[in-house]
Amino acid sequence: MKKTKEVVIEKFLLFSALITILTTIGIVLVLAIEAFKFFREVSVFEFLTDTEWTPLFTKKRFGILPLLSGTFLTSIIAIAVALPIGLTIAIFLSEYAPRKFREYIKPSLEMLAAVPTVVYGFFALTVVTPFLQTIIPGMSGFNSLSAGIVMGIMIIPIISSLSEDALRAVPNSLREASYGMGSTRLQTAFKVTVPAASSGIVVSIILAISRAIGETMIVAIAAGQQPRLTMNPLVPVETLTAYIVQVSLGDVPHNSLEYRTIFAAGITLFIFTFILNNISHWIKNKYREKYD
């Protein structure tokens, strides 16, 4: 009796585990099949080299570069905001802040990650952009700068929280050794703790980049929907994710070439985040047992 119960539970647990794996495989398969159909009609060469992305126009062009540039521009701005702030917070919390203070601040920082991204999107569009327009006249209502800045604020907790974990994992004996030789806290932080935690910090940055590349709502709302091969942060652009939203919500007929473009965009996005996540995984494993 007991034995059957055990077996049932075991099978159930295995089944639950399999569901997530099968779902992932399913998603990748659908992406791959639809993208394959797309690439039967559009050459990979054109897809990768054409500088225009106009699948919804009468004169169709299928160059992914404008969408990629939009994604990278917003992500770079986001990292430029999140990296210095996130790292400063992490160093402050792990090396300077009293324990009590840290215990209050860290959870409230992580609240930033709990804000729905649509709220961030509206914040970018209705607060940050008008504010930036007063400083930079001529900036358009949709632009990658304010979307990127707000996205940066959103990913601060990823960097600060994971980096702080990495810094705190550095054995205290190293800090003591450094203090014991007459280092200041700042010297200890930058010459001992940060280098010792570097693999964890790099992982946090990669995960933050991955999150920024995949982020949809903020850029769809605040960055615009105009695929444009540009590095100008003041004009509307469109990211891979925003394009997918645009087509999914529009009235493009299923199984048309236009419809399949979102799978081509989707698989491009997937490849990037997949590679980044694997790099971070690899770094984490490689340096895991460097110190005890």
Binding site: P98, R99, P171, S173, L174, E176, A177, S178, Y179, G180, M181, G182, S183, T184, Q187, K191, V192, P195, A196, K290, Y291
Partner: protein
């Protein structure tokens, strides 16, 4: 007990070796200026808990002073008072005077970084930085802003030679220090401390994580080092205290029970608890 006789034998040997100097020294009482470290009426608290009670002790320069006592007796706390290493503990509080080189290090305006350059520390577990062997030894000079490459190279070499590690690592200075054995790591940590030219070296059970051969090497090292430095060592190992130290202080539950010449503490301790401890009856 076999253990006791061994320790005593050691002391006997030492006694005969040191006698002429020792008697000479004991003849005239010393002035305070001649001591490297003096503590007066020292109380240390962690919150409500009093870790050290009214400690009065003087430490001579160019000698090895051993702090012994059972776990939790306050000997490590006492050691860490001398380079203000306890300052990072949240509810640490101190009363009384701690005078290092005629300066009260807790009340006078001193730079804590300078204090720690003068009063170096070697820890219980070897704790080299996850950097190269070279960078470990050069670290102290680099944080002082020394840029002169030639000087750094020479200092690294001489420090490694002082701890007799040079011949073992001279071809691998670029290797990560964590690849060294435990004993080598600990000698590297001592070299790292020596490189900043301290006057006092505090050692917190420096051999407790090491094998007997590495322990022997470090003890040998102490004999050489005491000619140039003042060494205070915390140890759990009675025989080690007997072998390496000139003076011994016995701590018990936050009190300094007894201190004096190692030969005297180990052969005719005046306190019953000291005797019980060093003969292994408790602790």
């Amino acid at each position: 007990m076999n253990y006791r006789s061994e320790t005593q034998e050691l002391i006997m040997k030492k006694d005969t070796m040191d006698t002429p100097v020792e008697t000479n020294e004991t003849k005239k009482p010393k002035k305070d200026q001649e001591y490297k470290i003096i503590t007066r009426n020292l109380d240390v608290f962690y919150g409500e808990f009093q870790a050290l009670k009214n400690i009065n002790m003087k430490i001579l320069p160019y000698s090895v002073t051993a702090l012994i006592g059972p776990s939790g007796c306050g000997k490590s706390t006492y050691l860490r008072v001398f380079n203000r290493m306890n300052d990072y503990i949240d509810d640490f509080r101190i009363e009384g005077d701690v005078i290092v080189d005629r300066k009260n290090i807790y009340t006078e305006k001193i730079e804590i970084e300078q204090l720690r350059k003068d009063v170096g520390m070697v820890f219980q577990k070897p704790n080299p930085f996850p950097k190269t062997i070279f960078e470990n030894v050069a670290y102290g000079l680099r944080i002082q802003g020394v840029k002169d490459k030639h000087f750094i190279n020479e200092k690294v070499e001489s420090s490694l030679k002082q701890v007799t590690l040079w011949d073992e690592v001279k071809d691998n200075l670029k290797k990560n220090a964590l690849a060294l054995s435990g004993g080598q790591q600990q000698r590297l940590c001592i070299a790292r401390t020596l490189a900043v030219e301290p006057e006092v070296i505090l050692m917190d059970e420096p051999t407790s994580a090491l094998d007997p051969i590495s322990t022997g090497k470090i003890e040998e090292l102490l004999f050489d080092l005491k000619n140039e430095y003042t060494i205070v060592i915390v140890t759990h190992n009675m025989q080690q205290a007997a072998r390496v130290s000139d003076h011994t202080a016995f701590f018990y539950m936050g009190d300094l029970i007894e201190e004096g010449k190692t030969t005297q503490i180990f052969t005719k301790p005046s306190n019953k608890r000291t005797e019980n401890y060093i003969t292994g009856r408790f602790g």
